[in-house]
């Protein structure tokens, strides 16, 4: 079986001078990338099968490191760049005690219902299946330049490296959308076809702040994939209006399932909640209770070091998701709500209990609940409802900074409100349904 690094070697031979990656002022051809990966791999002095943590950065160096770890026979575990050092060290210690099955390429961290980080094992086979799904489902091509603006430790962005390297296309990396001018600079890159991946907040910011400018690239933007969280219908319609010829995809994907299905909503119907037909390597089955379950080569291999947890999700070559869904008469997947308490913000899963546990240790907080609340830009955001000790007043900045020291940044609520009490059920548990 060919792995991603084999495709890199092939493309270095076939298209040595073709630009593989652009990042700021730096470019790297396929021959150079291959050389850098091989040199770095030779310097990695770790036993085969070791899981190596990488602090993710939006750089060519990160891609080199990621592929070099694979080439050295090790497993890459990219972590968010601002992961607290304590957590980074703790994971490093834990990972050194695990052995991984043969064929594992990556361990990607995601959050579970309890808030405990779970290391999702992704195989080399899965990487290639994801690549082939994206090529067939969305039309990645050799002459495409794909702009990555999201964090490369997240499956939404990381997975786009796969088809680009397989096809010998070009990756254009930018460090987020904070400076939108850099995104437009990327769109000015001399080529015929470009594509990118957006979370809903990106779409909202571009349509609100740069609609005309975005529309001026309508002929050049081949496709845009939207994922991470449901896109508001108004934003879907606005993107269709601004980019009438561009394929605009909503995709069903997760770290556990890989890339499963996709729907081009710029089809004149613009169906809300539709995630399209499954891609070649994937199958979707809806369980009798309405749960989305997935099969195929894009599935994870399990959670590292946790066979019990794995068995709750992955059984009989099927990953059972917590999303509810249905399949229509055209064979297209439609997503409904969730079966658990996990809140998805900006493409990340957050367990409210983890936020509440951290907040409860803040001096003066008597009780709290973390909920999902509407947000004008992101669609939804975490909100912490706080009951303070008598006579104390909530200082949301202090609470936010306190949480930032203890949690990954995406788990820190944006919205805060002091309340008299939080709703609980008759047996004293937080009544989450009350706040939905």
């Amino acid at each position: 079986m060919k792995v991603l690094e084999d495709f890199l070697a092939d493309n270095a031979r076939l298209y040595p001078d073709k630009i593989a990656i652009v990042c700021g002022m730096e470019t790297c051809s396929y021959a150079q990338l291959h050389e850098r990966v091989a040199t770095r791999a030779a310097a990695i002095n770790a036993p085969k099968g070791s899981v190596l943590l990488i602090r993710t950065s939006q750089t060519i160096d990160f891609i080199v490191e990621y592929m070099a770890v694979h080439l050295a026979g090790c497993v890459a575990a990219p972590l968010e760049k601002d992961t607290p050092q304590e957590l980074f060290d703790e994971l490093g210690r834990k990972l050194s005690s695990y052995s991984v099955p043969e064929g594992i390429a990556d361990v990607l961290y995601t959050t579970g219902t309890t808030g405990k980080s779970k290391g999702v094992m992704i195989s080399h086979r899965t990487i290639i299946a994801d690549a082939e799904n994206l090529i067939a489902g969305q039309g990645f091509s050799h002459d495409l330049v794909f702009i990555i603006n999201g964090p490369l430790n997240h499956i939404g962005s990381l997975s786009k490296i796969f088809p680009v390297i397989v096809l010998g296309a070009t990756l254009y990396i930018i460090d987020g959308m904070r400076d939108m001018n850099l995104f437009f600079q990327a769109l000015d890159y001399p080529c015929q076809k470009m594509a990118t991946f957006f979370v809903p907040a990106n779409v909202r910011m571009l349509t609100q702040l740069s609609a005309d400018r975005l529309a001026s690239y309508a002929e050049k933007i081949d496709f845009i994939e939207c994922g991470g969280a449901p896109l508001a219908h108004a934003d879907m319609l606005e993107l269709c209006r601004l980019l009438p010829k561009t394929r605009l995809y909503n995709t069903y994907a997760s770290t556990e399932t890989g890339i499963i299905s996709t729907y081009n909503y710029n089809d004149g119907r613009c169906l809300v909640g539709c995630l399209g037909k499954t891609m070649p390597h994937s199958r979707v089955i809806i369980t009798p209770e309405g749960r989305i379950s997935c099969q195929g080569d894009t599935l994870m291999s399990g959670y590292i070091g946790d066979p019990e947890l794995t068995a709750t999700v992955l059984r009989d070559h099927t990953v059972y998701m917590s999303d509810l869904g249905s399949i229509d008469e055209e064979g297209m997947l439609h997503i409904g709500g969730r079966m658990d308490d996990v809140i998805i913000v900006g493409g990340y899963k957050v367990a409210p209990t983890e936020v509440e546990d951290a907040a409860m240790s803040f001096h003066g907080i008597k009780d709290c609940i973390c909920i999902s609340a509407p947000h004008p830009i992101t669609g939804n955001a975490l909100k912490l409802l706080v009951v303070m000790n008598e006579g104390e007043k909530l200082n949301k900045r202090q609470v936010a900074l306190y949480l930032k020291e203890r949690l990954e940044i995406y788990k820190v609520p944006m919205l805060y409100e002091q309340v008299e009490r939080v709703e609980r059920t008759y047996n004293g548990k937080l009544n989450r349904k009350f706040y939905r």
Partner: protein, 74 residues
């Protein structure tokens, strides 16, 4: 106006230190969008992506200067 803008933005973005001399480097894309959209709404000015430059968002003072410039252009 500076304190008014500070109150508005600190309420929306509690994690951001608006006293920083390197404010832009602390912001993410969502923060930038929140700043531009909330200021555009509050002062009735047009702010676009092209305004989201490191220079305009370097400090709270530079944000105030951007708003004042936009108000004078109205």
């Amino acid at each position: 106006m500076k304190e008014e803008i500070r109150t508005l933005l600190e309420d929306l973005l509690p994690l951001v230190d608006f006293d920083s001399d390197f404010l832009f480097s602390e912001l993410n894309s969502l923060d930038v969008t929140t700043i531009l959209m909330s200021l555009a709404d509050k002062y009735g000015i047009k702010l676009e992506a092209i305004d989201a430059t490191p220079k305009n968002l370097k400090t709270l003072d530079s944000i105030v200067a951007m708003v004042e410039r936009k108000l004078s252009e109205k």
